[in-house]
């Protein structure tokens, strides 16, 4: 029965990860270490394929192949969530670039306008659109 709990937890993590992905160098390092561990484990399971059966038995799954399939599905979902996030980030950058091009190409003259600080917003969050 442990496998059900584990799988549900894994699915919940994927859902939350999609909502708010952790960022930063620390997280990147953790992810890379995880990736390294994954490769080592993959190598180990090539050399000792029976460890899947042992793990499956410990978790209450019938065969090692079944456990492998479950893991594969979760891994696939993680991939979907993380590539979606990366895609959204890339899209945001493309938007800023395209906007910059559109404004630069606009025919009418653009004059700088003095700005006050808007309510509830840091100055450094402002995009420097009018500052030319």
């Amino acid at each position: 029965m442990w496998i059900k709990v584990l799988l549900l937890i894994a699915l919940a993590i994927v859902f939350v990860l999609g909502l708010r992905a952790p960022r930063g160098a620390r997280h990147l390092a953790l992810r890379r270490m995880g990736m390294g561990a994954f490769v080592l484990f993959a190598g180990a399971s090539v050399i000792f394929p029976e460890i899947w059966n042992a793990m499956a038995n410990a978790l209450g799954v019938g065969r090692g192949t079944d456990l492998l399939l479950y893991t594969l599905i979760v891994a696939c979902l993680v991939y979907v969530a993380s590539s979606y996030l990366r895609f959204r980030e890339l899209e945001a950058k493309v938007t800023l670039l395209a906007r910059r091009i559109a404004l630069d190409e606009a025919s009418a003259p653009v004059f700088p306008v003095p700005e006050e600080v808007p309510p509830g917003r840091d100055d450094n969050q402002q995009r420097p659109i009018s500052g030319r």
Binding site: R99, A102, P118, R127
Partner: protein, 222 residues
């Protein structure tokens, strides 16, 4: 004549009607910027022929991105004080926009949002009405901003509001995002009754109700 007002019209493949829409609005407002969102027809040229300024996205980004580009452009124009987001398919009335700007001129609010449900001029279909009302209830519950309509494209903003908004939702979820930011930035807001003219043309081009699923997903997974 309303020289301090800029009409911001996000424009995507509306070549058939945009010229009339622009010429009509020019009767009331002298400054119109159409943000051509990478149209594949002659929308940009038609808008220009009608007398609007045209800013062109090199690729299609979505209506939210077009509105933000229009705001950035109009804010940088000398003497601009009020900004109106106005649909390109002819469903909005320039007279409503003018009334909303006049409401802003009184100085007690930063943003005026059009609403279809404050009077009975607009004929909203029964299914659409239910979906909109659910969206309104959701929006009121999650943003702390209390409105009677959701996803109404007619809005009037002063400089404070225009500067505070940072639309990051490129596609249709920007309407909810704007309401969310009104709440977060503490902008003073009001609603104004507007008449949405659903022509056969705009009905055919309008959003499918299924699109509300996309909007929910975009808001959740931003």
């Amino acid at each position: 004549m309303n020289d301090d007002v800029w009409l911001i019209v996000p424009l995507f493949n509306e070549g058939a009607v945009i010229r009339d829409v622009v010429e009509d609005a020019l009767q009331v407002f002298s400054n119109i910027v159409c943000v051509d969102d990478g149209s594949v027809d002659d929308s940009g040229a038609q808008a220009f022929a009608g007398g609007a300024l045209v800013v062109r996205h090199p690729i299609n980004l979505g209506q939210g991105a077009a509105i933000q580009t229009g705001l950035d452009y109009a804010r940088a124009q000398q003497g601009s004080r009020y900004f109106v987001t106005f649909d390109s398919d002819g469903q909005h009335q320039a007279a409503d926009a003018l009334a909303m700007v006049n409401r802003l001129r009184s100085g007690d609010v930063d943003i005026v949002l059009g609403s279809r449900f404050l009077d009975d001029r607009t004929d909203v279909g029964p299914i659409k009405k239910v979906v909109l009302k659910v969206a309104v209830a959701f929006s009121n519950a999650t943003t702390g901003v209390h409105l009677s309509d959701a996803h109404n494209g007619l809005r009037a903003l002063n400089r404070v509001a225009a500067r505070s908004l940072q639309i990051k939702q490129d596609r249709m979820a920007h309407a909810s995002e704007i309401v969310e930011q009104i709440g977060k930035c503490g902008l003073r807001y009001a609603e104004y009754p507007v008449h949405i003219h659903y022509s056969d043309y705009s009905r055919n081009k309008g959003q499918s109700l299924l699109n509300s699923v996309n909007i929910m997903a975009e808001l959740l997974y931003k």
